[in-house]
Symmetry: C2
Subunit: 144 residues, 2 copies
DNA sequence: AATATCAATGATAATGGTAATCAAAGTCGA
DNA sequence: TCGACTTTGATTACCATTATCATTGATATT
């Protein structure tokens, strides 16, 4: 299986871009971090071992990871983009707790199927979708 | 049936807020506008007949309409909030064309039902949700 | 290995949507 | 009508994101 490091290198080469230490460090740190991290999250984490890497580079590299198909960008309405590694053949959507911020992933093939039926009925070609359920997680709803 | 003007008045009274001309004008103009309008859209529209109303007031009043249950806020990923009147017992989601910006509404009770099953499986209490399908509308996919 | 070319970096400033501030004006109960 | 309190509108502040630009770095060519 092709590593994601290789995927990034191939993408950079294809586009005539350069393989740099920063890009590889950011990729590695991104993959090691918990999912759904924001640019800030990643920047703060990187700063511990690599204080020379600038915020702008982290931001640009995250966009690059999205462009190369390694990551996807999410937005859960708190005003900052979040990124997560793409898992092949493992699409999922999210339950988001408004109280504690907990993010639970879910998969529901039947919903996906119905989505395609809806799109077909409108002669609409789906490129991507987002489906998020907001509310209270089990713990927070008991605390109320 | 209670008009939305009455709904707003009741809400304001309940909260100890004031009924003002601006708020009623903004409500009326909002309801008369095409759906899914942004703060800018509404401000520009208002300026024609009511050039004295400030941007901040439009912004604040839209938030107020959301708080009073008259409108809901949507965000389709273009970096600006959009608002639409709540239609009782008529929840819907959206198909959004990335090319021309067309927004199509859809309803799919089966999806709603499956959502609730997913939430229940995680002991999660749904307060709201968003479900958007992004891609190309019929016209734009033919033009490509 | 040295060089030339072009992209990347990092610090900083610009941008754009949203929200806070505050003096002046308006609302509404007493 | 008066007074307490809210709203308004202009402006500024905020914050995430994006652009700018001089310097540094990567890579192909010699």
């Amino acid at each position: 299986m092709k590593t994601r490091k290789k995927t990034l290198r191939d993408y950079l080469q294809l586009k005539g871009l350069k393989i740099t230490n920063q890009r590889e460090i950011i990729l590695k740190t991104f993959l090691d971090s918990r999912s759904h991290c924001s640019t800030d999250d990643l920047y703060i984490r990187l700063r511990k071992k690599h204080p020379k890497i600038g915020y702008a580079t982290v931001h640009r590299t995250l966009k690059l990871l999205v462009a190369s198909g390694i990551a996807i960008e999410q937005n859960f309405g708190d005003g900052q983009a979040r990124y997560e590694p793409v898992q092949d053949n493992h699409h999922h959507d999210h339950l988001i707790c408004r109280e504690c911020g907990l993010i639970i992933e879910f998969e529901e093939p039947q919903i996906e199927k119905l989505q395609h039926q809806v799109a077909a009925a409108h002669q609409f070609t789906i490129e991507s979708h987002r489906h998020e359920l907001y509310g209270l997680c089990s713990r927070c709803s008991h605390l109320k």
